[in-house]
């Protein structure tokens, strides 16, 4: 075996937008990695000088798969600036729509983006489950692919009922939402929800949500496997079987810092309770460092552009103070990406469904991490099973909407005053923040930090790699022309480069 280090450039598809990763491979193992967002879109700068509400229309267009999430972050920032209290129904409608978007994203990512790699002929033709993987995940024809396209499309109808269309609506406005669906439409939403839930339990989990939630350790997961053939044949069961045989439980470990902004604020009058008592939202905000849970401190968030193609002094700043001016220096010098490097208290941090599970103290994931670390398998398992944690509360909120349909859904906000506000929420892929400054009734600064900027960030001034750059180290690459293993690691973070890439200020 040669110990020579090979340099490979890997372009990625099934990533929203454009991503190329450069890796060093020694003895068939990745020894170093540089992640490069290859597109620059300049959205934030487009916002400067525009009307105070314009983020509600423009920012959803940053990403076609989580457009509502951007809308929500934009609306929350304006709620804060206007200091308005939302009616319970507005909170419920926003939450239900967001949950629908998150759940469609989790399932499409898992089946259309992630498991699609299991059909990679060159890499897996000798895998004992290869034939079944092809039957399930072949693009546009696999049985699971067809089902996921059909079922997620139905779930999204709930968003159209609430907000008019998906993607790219703007129904969340400061003070609430633009309208409340009338009763028969809410009942349709309930029925669409019921059908989706039934399918998710039967085909994705292979058991009831209650049974799945009872799996709290690695040992119990093994017992769950043996319990019934339905468990093994479900998407979750098949994923675990294929992934373990392919070794996905042995690599892809990030830097073990987890960040979560929290999500789904609770209405005043609701049967839904927070995951961790004492917070006013369903999923828990916070930062996890090694073994320690820390309360989220928004002032600890900084952007570092040492290795990004941007011009800014100082190179590290809080998003309220950041500017985004492109400065492409080609492949010379330190910069190598259009993605900035956000850091929490100076540290790179992983965000996403696994970070949520850690922050919400979900026992199974705490146990898995204790045993194997946050591998590609664990990270992806957290994603495909997250809907099990969201669906019951989504159903409760739809029922509460039906019970309270005559109540208000909007608190009038006549004008947006000058000021600063941040909308920090959880997108499907993790922590998303919009930092907005309004001056003279116009947007004077708009800064977005997306989950992929956290996960796919380049190195910073301390030379610390971003989470998936770290996670690639130690990943085996059997065939440099077909580096499917690197794909498993990066895709376990669910990269979205259209989000991560920044937008320029019009200097004219």
């Amino acid at each position: 075996m040669s110990s020579e280090t090979k340099k490979i450039d890997i372009p990625f598809n099934r990533v929203e937008g454009d991503l190329e990763v450069k890796v060093d491979v020694t003895d068939d193992t990745i020894t170093d990695a540089w992640s490069c967002g290859t597109m620059y879109r300049g959205f934030e700068a487009m916002m400067t000088g525009r009307g105070p509400l314009d983020g509600l229309v423009i920012t959803p267009r940053i990403c076609g798969i989580c457009s509502l999430t951007h809308l929500n972050a934009a609306a929350v920032a304006l709620d804060r600036i206007a200091q308005v209290t939302l009616p319970d129904n507005a909170i419920r409608l926003r939450n239900v729509a967001l949950m629908a978007e998150t759940i469609q994203s989790d399932l499409r990512q898992a089946v259309l983006m992630y498991m699609a790699d299991f059909t990679n002929h060159k890499a897996y033709q000798k895998h004992p489950l290869f034939k079944e993987a092809v039957a399930r995940y072949q693009m546009l024809s696999g049985s699971s692919v067809v089902e996921v396209i059909r079922k997620t499309k139905r779930l999204i109808e709930i968003i159209a009922i609430i907000g008019g269309q998906w993607p790219h609506t703007s129904f969340m406005v400061p003070g609430g939402v633009t309208s409340i669906p009338y009763v028969p439409k809410l009942m349709q939403s309930r029925l669409i929800f019921n059908r989706f839930l039934e399918w998710y339990e039967k085909k994705v989990l292979g058991c009831t949500i209650a049974r799945w939630q009872a799996v709290t350790t690695r040992k119990e997961l093994a017992q769950w496997f043996e319990e019934r053939p339905e468990h093994r044949d479900s998407e979750v069961g098949f994923f675990i079987r294929f992934a373990e045989k392919a070794g996905l439980d042995t690599y892809g470990r990030g830097n073990d810092h987890f960040l979560c902004f929290g999500n789904f604020p609770l209405p005043k009058d609701t049967a839904v309770t927070p995951r961790v008592p004492g917070t006013d939202q369903l999923t828990t905000p916070g930062f996890f460092r090694e073994t320690e849970y820390l309360a989220l401190d928004a002032a600890s968030i900084k952007e570092d552009i040492t290795c990004s193609w941007f011009e800014q002094k100082p190179v590290v700043s809080h998003p309220f103070d950041s500017v985004t001016r492109p400065y492409a220096s080609g492949n010379m010098g330190k910069p190598y990406s259009w993605v900035k490097a956000p850091r929490y208290d100076g540290l790179p941090a992983e965000t996403g469904p696994l970070a949520e599970a850690v922050m919400d103290r979900v026992p199974l994931f705490l146990d898995l991490i204790r045993n194997t670390g946050a591998t590609a398998l664990v990270r992806q398992l957290a994603r495909i099973t997250r809907p099990a944690r969201l669906l019951p509360d989504m159903g409760t909120w739809i029922d509460e909407l039906l019970a309270h349909h005559a109540d208000p859904f909007y608190t009038p906000v006549k004008t947006i005053p000058d000021g600063q506000g941040a909308g920090m929420i959880q997108a499907a892929r993790g922590a998303l923040g919009h930092w907005v400054t309004i001056e003279n009734s116009k947007i004077s600064n708009y800064q977005v930090i997306t989950p992929t900027a956290w996960n796919g960030s380049p190195r910073d001034g301390q030379n610390q790699p971003g989470p998936w750059e770290s996670a690639l180290k130690g990943t085996p690459v059997k065939d440099p022309d077909n580096p499917v293993e690197a794909g498993h690691v990066i895709r376990s973070f669910d990269p979205c480069m259209v989000c991560a890439v920044h937008i320029v200020k019009n200097e004219k």
């Binding site: 099934r14 290859t38 990403c63 008019g164 006549k414 320029v504």
Partner: protein
């Protein structure tokens, strides 16, 4: 069997996610029924990087025929015309677009970014559409461009483009059914009626019962910045995701099918002179409209003024 290559430039992927809501036929069924082979789609393909390179070489040499090129997202020319703000393996993606378009039998711009430049037009990324930059003809492929079929670029405007329009256009080009285009090269099939058509708030518009704050249940055109009567599109005729549209849910139409979307004036606000919008419904005479709307407001029935309709 016909071949399709789906190129993504500067965009958000929203048109792809719109297409996944295609209902008359699911995307997968649509491709099978039309006997289309998807050579490449950035989200819906699993061929490895080396195979993708070979495919591009084969298309460029004519070994693999390309029947339909679908382009989503704008073509990025920044900085300074180099295109290096959007690269594929170190090369500007605009060049890839050029190569593919010159071999395609049909070229379809999916969404307003691909058609007219959209969000990046007039900004530092120097975005253009395939054959227009906003209202100006030209764009990345040039004014005179025609694809192998003799058609210019077919512009499926919208941000995102409606799922049934993408599916419908695919059906047409896959079967060589001619599409009649308007002056911005949008197929009249879907772009010859205003978004206003089919809006459940039409009666409010008719009697000029106006919404001036969210949730009032009235017409959104006079104060809230709705472009429904100004721009063509099928949103209220075909409905989104089988159920609704933005105006039906109290969200103004932002005019996303127009070549100059997004305009620079603030959203959610109608520029007006003494309550009469500066831009009037397409083809309407200002004096006539003012008289008609004045009378209509006088004649408005109580039930509408009380905003009792469930819209």
């Amino acid at each position: 069997m016909k071949t399709v290559y789906w190129l993504q430039g500067g965009g958000c992927g929203g048109d792809t996610y719109s297409l996944l809501s295609s209902d008359f036929m699911d995307v997968s069924e649509l491709f099978t029924t039309l006997d289309l082979k998807l050579l490449w789609h950035p989200s819906l393909c699993s061929i490895d990087p080396a195979a993708h390179e070979r495919l591009l070489t084969d298309i460029a040499s004519g070994t693999t025929p390309l029947d339909i090129l679908m382009v989503e997202g704008s073509i990025i020319f920044g900085p300074a015309g180099t295109g290096m703000f959007d690269t594929f393996r170190g090369r500007a993606k605009k060049e890839l677009c050029h190569t593919l378009a010159s071999h395609a039998r049909y070229v379809v711009a999916v969404g307003t970014c691909a058609a007219f430049g959209g969000f990046g037009a007039g900004h530092a990324i120097e975005a253009t559409g395939l054959q227009f930059t906003k209202k100006k003809k030209g764009g990345a492929l040039g004014r005179e461009f025609v694809s192998g079929s003799g058609m210019p670029v077919i512009n499926l405007a919208g941000c995102p483009c409606h799922h049934d329009v993408i599916a419908g256009a695919l059906m047409a080009v896959a079967s060589d059914v001619p599409l009649e285009l308007d002056r911005f090269q949008r197929p009249l099939e879907w772009y010859n009626t205003m978004v206003h058509q089919g809006c459940t708030r039409n009666e409010y518009h008719e009697y000029r019962v106006e919404e001036s704050d969210f949730g009032e249940m009235g017409c959104l055109f006079f104060h809230m910045g709705c472009a429904g009567p100004l721009v063509p599109g099928p949103c209220n005729k075909l409905l989104w995701n089988r159920h609704s549209s933005k105006p039906r849910a109290g969200v103004p139409c932002f005019g996303c099918t127009s070549p100059d979307f997004p305009k620079s004036n603030p959203f959610f606000h109608t520029p007006n002179i003494e309550g009469i919008p500066l831009e009037l419904p397409k083809g309407v005479n200002r004096a006539h409209y003012m008289v008609y709307k004045g009378m209509a407001a006088e004649a408005a029935p109580e039930r509408l003024k009380k905003r009792s309709a469930k819209v």
